[in-house]
């Protein structure tokens, strides 16, 4: 890790907290509007207009929350690990803050995916929890998030906390495919050929288009939430810099 590669100047500019603060304040409204529109549209479409599944009936409408949440929880972990790697290798402050902000968001989204999965299970399997491969993987993902988050809060020094979190999330990233594979394999061993809700059913466009809308909406929401958190983090860490002081005085 002692080596660091030289990168073009804009790359380092990207790492300047102030630059990120400025650019994100311009981007935020756009993503916020997009997120609200897409989520409202997708939810209304999914709840009221999409046809029910021929097997599961209306409980199928939970898919419009569960799948986007599951997808987002996984991408969030990836972003956290990649941002952590960038901050480890190039000592980029913003990447560190982004990585730190990812953990609580990702954890709550993983909880959402788990909760919706469990609730979906009740009408479908008649039980609140079934050791379904995807639900189990999601539970482990939540554990990984909790680990990163706890480690972060256990270390007082912010720089060290960021680096330690980055190492752990990278280790987790290497492990995720192994965990997924092992859990899927374990699942086939113990529950051969049960009908799983989360397996992609053959969906007609009226069903998957709102799903797509919801997924994009969730990503836009994520962009908003991440920027908000990172901005607060920037303010707190840069509170003694002149530009933050000016912001405070301007209030």
């Amino acid at each position: 890790m002692a080596k660091s590669w030289k990168m073009p100047k804009w790359f380092y500019q990207l790492g300047s907290p102030r630059w990120f603060y400025d650019i994100s304040s311009r981007l935020l409204p756009w993503f916020a509007v997009a997120a609200v529109l897409l989520l409202v549209l997708g939810a209304a479409w999914g709840l009221a207009f999409a046809p029910p599944d021929y097997q599961q009936g209306n409980s199928f409408r939970i898919i419009y929350i569960h799948v986007p949440a599951a997808v987002l929880a996984q991408s969030c972990y990836m972003l956290m690990a990649v941002a952590g790697a960038i901050s480890l290798i190039w000592k980029m402050k913003v990447a560190d803050m982004v990585a730190k902000s990812c953990a609580p968001i990702g954890a709550t989204i993983a909880i959402l995916a788990l909760a919706t999965g469990a609730i979906w299970g009740k009408p479908t399997w008649g039980a609140w929890w079934v050791w379904d491969a995807r639900l189990t993987s999601m539970l482990i993902l939540l554990f990984l998030y909790i680990g990163v988050y706890t480690l972060h809060s256990a270390i007082d020094n912010e720089v060290n906390a960021g680096q330690a979190g980055a190492v752990l999330s990278l280790v987790g990233l290497v492990n995720i495919p192994i965990i997924k594979y092992s859990v899927e394999w374990w699942n086939t061993l113990h529950q051969p050929a049960t009908f799983t809700i989360t397996e992609k059913p053959k969906m007609v466009p009226e069903m998957w288009v709102p799903l797509l809308v919801m997924v994009i909406g969730f990503y836009c929401f994520f962009a908003v939430a991440l920027m908000l958190r990172t901005r607060t983090e920037i303010l707190q860490r840069e509170k003694r810099s002149s530009w933050v002081q000016q912001l405070v005085e301007g209030k």
């Binding site: 002692a2 080596k3 660091s4 020094n157 720089v159 060290n160 003694r240």
Partner: protein, 220 residues
């Protein structure tokens, strides 16, 4: 002019929202002894940890023999002897075992038994070479660690408070050792509360205490 062995440029370090030092420049040439001065809490230990490479919580550049230290790290470590707050002595091992283990980690360290015994004798631990370190006092443990100075051939010594737990006579002996090391072309950077009687001693001062914190306190 030859390139200095160790050179620091524009070092900046901040700890717990307090600036310990900023714009710190100094160079350490072969044959020089540099004492880092400053009141308690001024960052002397932090500076030594930064120079040794243990801590990376700083901004600025450190050069070893004219090259950025991160690029010649192996070379730098080969030439370094670091004596920190913690002695680095295992309680369950004997002094001799401890020194042999150190020698395994750090090439350029003598491993001949006579030399080890001699080094232990020099720090006042003659006859203790096979006593487990947990039955030695804290001061004696530090002296086990100090015995490394007699064994190492590393040119650069970074010593953090090497004279605590040593009596007057011992201090004089260590001063002589440091002078001899410098005379042979080695370099030393150290912190100490003792008045040093060493020729050609140079100082770098971290004295200034940042007043930002005082401002925070609501006294009038």
């Amino acid at each position: 002019m030859s390139t200095p062995l160790l050179e620091a440029k524009q070092l900046f370090c901040e700890r717990d929202e307090r600036v310990l030092f900023e714009g710190l420049d100094f160079a350490l040439n072969a044959g020089e002894v540099l004492q880092v001065e400053g009141p308690n809490g001024s960052g002397k230990t932090t500076l030594l940890r930064i120079l040794s490479g243990l801590s990376s919580a700083f901004e600025g550049d450190i050069f070893f023999q004219g090259e950025p230290v991160s690029e010649v790290r192996d070379n730098f470590l080969q030439s370094l002897l670091y004596f920190g707050h913690l002695p680095g002595v295992k309680a369950t091992l004997t002094p001799e075992e401890n020194l042999r283990w150190y020698a395994a980690l750090h090439p350029e360290t003598d491993t001949m038994r006579e030399r080890i015994l001699e080094a232990l004798e020099n720090v006042g631990l003659f006859g203790y070479e096979d006593v487990p370190c947990h039955s030695l006092s804290a001061g004696q443990n530090r002296r086990v660690s100090l015995a490394r100075l007699y064994l190492s051939h590393a040119p650069l010594w970074i010593l953090d408070e090497p004279f605590t737990a040593i009596d007057k006579k011992g201090v004089a002996a260590k001063e002589a050792l440091i002078e001899k090391h410098a005379a042979a072309g080695g370099s030393v950077i150290l912190t100490t509360h003792h008045e040093l009687a060493i020729k050609n001693l140079r100082q770098v001062n971290l004295g200034r205490i940042e007043t930002a914190e005082l401002r925070e306190q609501p006294n009038d």
